[in-house]
């Protein structure tokens, strides 16, 4: 399995964890598992606010969507939240088809997503 640090880059933006992906496609089981583990590790922190940027990602599968659902559930249980950004139009369509665009707050740019957290709970 690829090491999580080879797949994701995590930065801290005033307490908000900004997760960027290093891969253009998240297709293999190993890649998705590594992403899930990295996000789940963040979810262990109570109240953790996480932004996942899909910048440069052009292909995902339903396994990624299901993983994000699990991560969001875990984050919500601990008082945190996951917000998404920089989603390619093709990939966004997958969120829309599955109605996950209603479950997740999705922003055009990652800085907008980070700012929404910093603006407060209703941001």
């Amino acid at each position: 399995m690829p090491e999580a640090e080879n797949l994701v880059c995590i930065a801290d933006r005033q307490g908000v964890k900004l997760v960027r992906l290093r891969a253009a496609a998240l297709l293999t089981e190993d890649e998705v598992e590594a992403l899930g583990q990295a996000l789940m590790a963040l979810a262990e922190m109570p109240g953790q606010r996480v932004v996942l940027s899909f910048l440069g990602v052009t292909h995902i599968t339903s396994v990624v969507l299901n993983t994000l659902v699990l991560v969001q559930r875990r984050l919500e249980e601990s008082g945190g939240d996951l917000r998404l950004a920089d989603i390619d139009p093709h990939v966004f369509e997958m969120f829309a088809i599955t109605r996950l665009d209603r479950k997740f707050r999705i922003f055009e740019r990652d800085e907008d997503a980070v700012a929404s957290f910093l603006a407060g709970p209703e941001g």
Binding site: T28, E29, T61, S62, V63, M94, T98, L100, K103
Partner: protein
């Protein structure tokens, strides 16, 4: 699986591949099919759709059908023309009833981590049909004008 293999069929000849239930083998099947669609001039939207549906079908066949049993095979058959591409994916599992898969877009299922693969296949392909008690899926994508 299709039984006829005619090179004179305007839909093109059937091309068949047999894969072990190893997820890393999915790339080669996808690459071959997408390469053919590229040769035929299919656009990005069509290739995205076919790639996604084929990926979902192969993962389902290996994981849920064959349960990652390396001794069980996945059979892929495809034929592509300038107008359409047909893909059949068959596993050696116990089958399933796709009608029993819950609608992942229902409010009560939005937080469940399952059921989205089949739905995406149906949305991105023009025809999706399960045969052989769910052990085989047939998909058709018509090229966009």
């Amino acid at each position: 699986m299709p039984r006829k293999c005619s090179n004179t069929d305007k839909r093109g000849p059937w091309i068949r591949r047999v894969l072990p239930s190893e997820l890393e083998r999915i790339r080669e099947a996808e690459g071959e099919v997408l390469g053919r669609l590229g040769e035929l001039g299919y656009g990005e939207d069509d290739r995205f759709a076919v790639r996604l549906a084929l990926e979902e079908a192969l993962v389902n066949a290996m994981k849920h059908g064959n349960r990652m049993d390396a001794s069980r095979r996945v059979r892929v058959a495809y034929r592509a023309s300038a107008e359409q591409v047909e893909i059949h994916v068959a596993d050696e599992g116990e089958g399933f009833d796709p009608a029993q898969v819950p609608d992942p877009t229902a409010d009560e299922n939005l937080s469940k981590p399952s059921g989205r693969g089949i739905m995406l296949m149906r949305c991105y392909m023009d025809e999706v049909t399960y045969v052989c008690e769910g052990r085989e899926v047939h998909m058709v994508k018509y090229r966009r004008a």
